[in-house]
Symmetry: C2
Subunit: 191 residues, 2 copies
Amino acid sequence: MAITTLGYALLGLLARESYSGYDLGRQLKAPIGFYWHARYSQIYPELAKLEAEELAIFEVVEQHDLPAKKVYTITEKGREALKEWVTAATDLPPMRDELILKTFSLWLADPEQAIALFHQQIELHTKQLQHYEEFERKLEEDKEDVSNSFSPLFATYATLKVGLDYERMYIQWCHWTIAQLERTGTSLQKG
Amino acid sequence: MAITTLGYALLGLLARESYSGYDLGRQLKAPIGFYWHARYSQIYPELAKLEAEELAIFEVVEQHDLPAKKVYTITEKGREALKEWVTAATDLPPMRDELILKTFSLWLADPEQAIALFHQQIELHTKQLQHYEEFERKLEEDKEDVSNSFSPLFATYATLKVGLDYERMYIQWCHWTIAQLERTGTSLQKG
DNA sequence: TCCCTCATGTAAAAGGTTACATGATTTA
DNA sequence: TAAATCATGTAACCTTTTACATGAGGGA
């Protein structure tokens, strides 16, 4: 059976260090989760598949005061599969951004409500950007490794960079759209 | 039953003019399809649902030399539903870009193969950008309407603008990543 | 006492892709 | 003659989300 993209996302984390399913779920919030999100209900069955195909193995770790956990470790087979996948050609991703879809029908909307929508989006994306910037500051403390392309920190930074660039671009576009709406929308309708 | 996002994508097109399922499928390639993609196997059943809920109606149009088609028209109910949806608050989209996921594990890769991957991506995104730029040129011919926020052309241009900005940002990031890989990757491994 | 965190899952439903099915006309 | 375009769909499968299920320990 072929490995799913989620499978590679999990292997990508396990190639750096061993994690339990629960910890993988938290990692899939930051920083990878900013790019590839999954719920526990998808993660646990996926880990079982990885284990069945011998791409990862687990060890049960008992804890005092906390429930036992299954700590997964990548196998050599898993590392090879990941390595092969990393440089394989990829198609353009299918873009599915609801705000952009809404923008296509923005001409139907009351401009003031439309402006409110874009302000809400600026808020969300600014929060996201701030998470990235905080993460960037943390990365810069281990500065030596970031420029070495064989270091995981380099890869983390390259991933983070596109996130930073994306959010800044997106926020700028929201501001531009608001400016357009304010210039032609509000005065015409209410004036 | 709630309307799906694809349903709104179709209504967004039908709010501008009537289309057959086949024509909607082609529209979902450009310009909306750049942001919201769907196959015919998803479009036809979705249109049947819209019709069942009286958000759109169809008329069979016979053609000489070509098969008959069902031309769908949005209803007042459909237009109202679309209008309400347009300005409703939206969450951050779940980003699922395989290249960015691969970038997270780039430290495992042979730098020369990694560079080749990013060159391939620059090619794909440059092609996409050129489509956008061509579309922009066409839009500029009807210049008067683009600045009026109640005109569909304004909405189209706002949608297009984020596409242009996104692709330019993305291509820049690919170049940046290649530069990093060339600086530290290639000499170390083979030198 | 109630909610949050830790920890692992299953079941059902929704959303999306791939493959299949049909059939006429036009273009290479 | 073969492939592409027009035109509409169904079936099977895969991916993702939502809801359900359990249970211990710690903090407000």
